[in-house]
């Protein structure tokens, strides 16, 4: 017997013992290796910077300086009785903005996906545009439109209705909620629209056959089916609103409304010098609250099978014939898009064409200039920032969606005991306020053995770490609806895990994957809160460039760059939508 033959003779008994053990059985499954690979990457991405934030919250010295263990940061952050009424303000703000954004998104998605309203395709494309605009620009636009002293809309009411003063005051809690909800609507729209696209019409048709009218079908069938997507969007938007600082800084501060983020800014991040340790202690508290929402989300979506609607039969989403009401539906969609897109873009265009912004008069038209666009065209720094942002958007969003698709499959489809841990890990960095997370990333990677600090790669890692939950939500709400029978059929036909994943699941998940990709591209094109701490002069993307131009009072240039970003992003979105499953059919 040769050595090879002897080895072969021994191998069966060794393999049998191995495969009998729990670990052996676990590792013989290809999906287990995917779990370990994806879990390892996600655990590293989220735990490494999070560790530094926890460490920071429990020490009395900034990173790099030997400190002592202390709970003083927590005592200071949560021992202040004044903080608690602010939590209530933040809760009202978050709930209001999230709820209103869902309402807007649901109306818009239903009209554009499920009805025969005229121009619905155009509405669908333009609904995503506000996600491209930096939130700070949207807030500023609405201040110009609705401020009580010389807001353009208030001015029109005063002029044409003879009112003594304008009816709207942006500097109020309703104003704050309204503007934030407009900023959040595109994200909710993308998630809800993807779920509506993936829905099997046969259930709705069955309900109609059984005598339900359109409203009854919508209430009893459509709405329950897209409930996971609505909850996903609501959860995302609530946390995003509670963490937001831009809109409160511009609207809440003059209105003298204080929310939790403005307090964190005053006490920690905006204090002099910045108190990173206190900021970390606040961040850990927000993490706790956000994790409660993750738990709620998991509970809401635990009845996975109840929502499975995509089966092996080919179909198109059911379209409701609204008859003459279709024009009213288009009118409503148009009104929403005027609020979401047209008015802010018009104000931006005005700002980009004026030497400095002022309320337009007849003389204004003589002073219009293209100087701000010439600056965009002729400045190498701007060109480099566009190139950096495009790289980050395309590579970052693609990497994020690959990870998100695998993670989503593991958490929704497999029975691996630790699958819930992956979702928890993904949500940890997202639950921190952006700036606190950026500090964690900076501390974590400034001394990293691989020299990525001050390169574009650290920004890419930051984007994937921080925004992976957006991708995960978008894919999960779609994968939940894909029935298991398709995978089972593929496996019965002899396909392995990777072949099934590639040939069956990815095409089925495509609307969700593309929706997530679009969300991420639009965010990455203009992200600044994390980038600001991490970029170095050679790797400046558009977000910090916009921020510094804004800081320097160059609103015209900011608006011009914002408009160019919008055009580029719309082109990317249009290309992405062509790859979305239902559009290509």
């Amino acid at each position: 017997m040769s050595a090879d033959e002897r080895a072969l003779a021994v191998e069966p008994s060794w393999t049998t013992a191995w495969s009998r053990s729990w670990l052996g059985a676990f590792l013989t499954q290809p999906v287990s290796w995917v779990f370990l690979f994806v879990g390892g990457i996600i655990a590293f991405l989220s735990l490494y910077p999070t560790f530094f934030l926890f460490y920071g919250s429990l020490t009395d010295a900034p990173l790099g300086v030997p400190g002592h263990f202390t709970l003083q940061n927590y005592v200071r952050a949560y021992g202040d009785a004044e903080a608690y009424p602010l939590l209530l303000n933040s809760f009202i703000f978050g709930l209001g903005a999230s709820g209103l954004s869902i309402l807007f998104a649901l109306a818009l998605a239903w009209i554009t996906i499920r009805t025969n309203a005229p121009f619905r395709r155009l509405f669908e494309l333009t609904a995503i545009i506000p996600n491209i605009l930096p939130p700070i620009l949207v807030s500023i636009s609405w201040v110009m439109l609705l401020n009580p002293s010389n807001g353009l809309i208030n001015g029109l009411f005063v002029k044409f209705l003879g009112l003594e003063k304008g009816p709207f005051n942006i500097y109020s809690m309703p104003g704050l909620i309204f503007v934030e909800s407009l900023i959040l609507t595109p994200l909710a729209f993308l998630i809800v629209a993807a779920a509506l696209k993936s829905m099997d019409p046969s259930l709705e048709e069955s309900a109609k056959t059984l005598g339900s009218n359109e409203f009854g079908v919508m209430r009893r069938v459509t709405f329950p089916l897209i409930r996971p997507a609505i909850l996903a969007a609501g959860t995302l938007n609530f946390v995003r609103a509670v963490e937001s600082f831009d809109t409160p800084a511009i609207i809440a501060l003059p209105a003298r409304i204080e929310v939790f983020t403005t307090k964190i800014w005053r006490e920690a991040l905006g204090s002099f010098p910045t108190n990173h340790n206190l900021a970390a202690a606040y961040g850990v508290g927000i993490l706790g609250v956000a994790l409660i929402f993750v738990y709620l989300y998991r509970r809401f979506t635990s009845q996975v099978e109840n929502y499975s609607t995509v089966t092996g039969k080919g179909f198109r989403p059911h379209q409701i014939d609204l008859g003459p009401w279709r024009y009213a539906a288009s009118g409503l969609a148009l009104l929403l898009l005027i609020l979401l897109v047209v008015l802010p873009i018009l104000v931006l265009l005005l700002v980009a064409l004026l030497p400095y912004y002022h309320v337009p008069t007849w003389q204004t038209w003589q002073h219009l200039t293209l100087d701000h666009f010439r600056y965009v065209w002729a400045t190498p720094r701007v060109h480099k920032a566009f190139a950096n942002s495009l790289f980050l958007a395309l590579v970052g969003a693609t990497a994020c969606m690959v990870l998100a698709s695998l993670a989503s499959y593991i958490t929704v489809r497999t029975k691996i005991a630790a699958r819930g841990v992956i979702e928890g890990l993904v949500f940890i960095p997202w639950a921190f306020p952006g700036t606190a997370m950026a500090l964690g990333l900076l501390w974590a990677y400034v001394d990293f053995p691989i020299p990525i600090y001050a390169t574009i790669w650290i920004i890419l890692i930051a984007y994937v770490t921080r925004f992976l939950p957006y991708g995960l939500r978008a894919v999960t709400s779609t994968i939940i609806q894909v029935h298991k029978e398709l995978e089972e059929a593929s496996i019965v036909c002899g396909a392995g895990f990777l072949a099934t994943f590639r040939r069956v699941l990815i095409p089925m998940m495509r609307p969700g994957v593309m929706a997530g990709w679009i969300i991420l591209v639009t965010i990455f094109m203009r992200e600044f809160s994390a980038t600001l701490f991490l970029y170095s002069p050679g790797s400046e993307p558009l977000g910090p460039l916009l921020y510094f131009l804004y800081l320097d009072g160059m609103r015209g240039r900011v608006a011009a760059i914002g408009l160019v970003i919008s055009v580029i992003s719309v082109i990317l979105i249009a290309i992405a939508q062509r790859y979305s499953r239902w559009e290509t059919k």
Binding site: R256, G270, F272, P273, D447, P537, F548, L551
Partner: protein, 336 residues
């Protein structure tokens, strides 16, 4: 013939004068800096002003400048984090007095005696940081289209008169550190008792509070609010774009100094030194003044009406404990 000779002499003089700033810099330093390739600057100087200065420097020396622009607090944060981690990527820090002093105490800066220092008056040279190259002056700015100059306030004390109630915008002194400093330093202008009353009366006017000095000026430029407490230089910078702004000629203003210093572990020390030499030169000071800056050179003023008559006192340097105390105090006065 005489005419031609005079023209030749004038031409020579012009060439020598225009090249003078270069001659004042060491050729060997520039050559060494060129070998290093670039200088990296972290600063809070406005991008356009910085781009103009660094662009000219590059043209003259061939040394590239990479500029990371942020607020003074963020500049300090980043510089300290990198320094403590042992990976400082910057050569020069360029920002205002208070954070510069803190960074100096942390050992971030090397002593560099630039030849250009001698052109500054002794009182404008800080023993730790070198020459204070510019001052930022805070005053009262108003929109001439909304408030006629005759109806505008004439002093800080006028701001608390009933006719200006609801017409004033200022940065939130509980959030914006320079404004905290400004309010805390008012006793330098008014005396303790009077300033305390003024601060309470000012808060009672319910001024609109914004994030920082620039949004305050922007609101006046757009006409949303007629009067602002902000940097006086915005009258010029916004005026260049057509905004109808003017400032109140106060008896005395309040201001803060700006400095630039070399990193003690500078990765491109020669390029950094060459940049400091140019930045502090008479040529650059004149160029900065033209862009609206109050530079520290006798007889050089920004193109702002009555700029030569502006007198200012320096604001207090506050340590972190004092800042926290003052912010708490102003929270009670301005937000309750």
């Amino acid at each position: 013939m005489l005419k031609q000779f005079s023209f030749f002499l004038a031409l020579c003089a012009a060439i020598i004068l225009s090249a003078a700033p270069l001659y004042s810099q060491s050729a060997s330093l520039i050559a060494a800096g060129k070998k290093e390739g670039k200088a990296v600057v972290y600063g809070s100087l406005e991008s356009d002003t910085a781009d103009a200065a660094f662009g000219t420097f590059k043209k003259k020396t061939g040394i590239d400048v990479e500029y990371w622009r942020a607020s003074a607090t963020k500049v300090m944060d980043r510089a300290l984090s990198e320094y403590r981690a042992g990976k400082p990527l910057f050569d020069i820090i360029l920002t205002n007095d208070n954070p510069m002093q803190i960074m100096f105490k942390e050992g971030l800066f090397a002593k560099y005696g630039s030849p250009a220092t001698k052109e500054f008056t002794p009182e404008s040279i800080d023993p730790n940081l070198g020459p204070r190259y510019r001052n930022v002056v805070i005053g009262v700015v108003y929109n001439k289209d909304i408030i006629k100059p005759a109806d505008a306030p004439k002093s800080l004390e006028d701001l608390v008169k009933p006719q200006y109630r609801g017409k004033l915008v200022m940065p939130d002194p509980t959030q914006h550190t320079t404004t905290t400093q400004w309010v805390a330093s008012l006793d330098k202008l008014m005396g303790k008792e009077k300033s305390e009353k003024f601060i309470r009366d000012l808060a009672a006017q319910k001024p609109i509070l914004v994030e920082s000095l620039l949004p305050a000026a922007e609101r006046v430029a757009t006409g949303e609010t007629p009067i602002a407490i902000t940097y006086v230089k915005y009258v010029y910078t916004f005026g260049q774009r057509g905004a109808p702004l003017d400032y109140v000629r106060l008896g005395k203003f309040m201001g803060d100094g700006h400095y630039l210093s070399l990193n003690s572990k500078s990765p491109h020390a020669n390029a950094g030194k060459a940049l400091i030499d140019y930045f502090l030169s008479a040529e650059n000071m004149a160029a900065l003044a033209k862009l609206g800056e109050f530079v520290n050179r006798k007889g050089i003023y920004p193109p702002l009406p009555d700029a030569d008559k502006i007198q200012f006192v320096e604001m207090y340097d506050l340590d972190s404990k004092k800042f926290a105390e003052k912010k708490k105090e102003y929270q009670q006065i301005f937000l309750h």
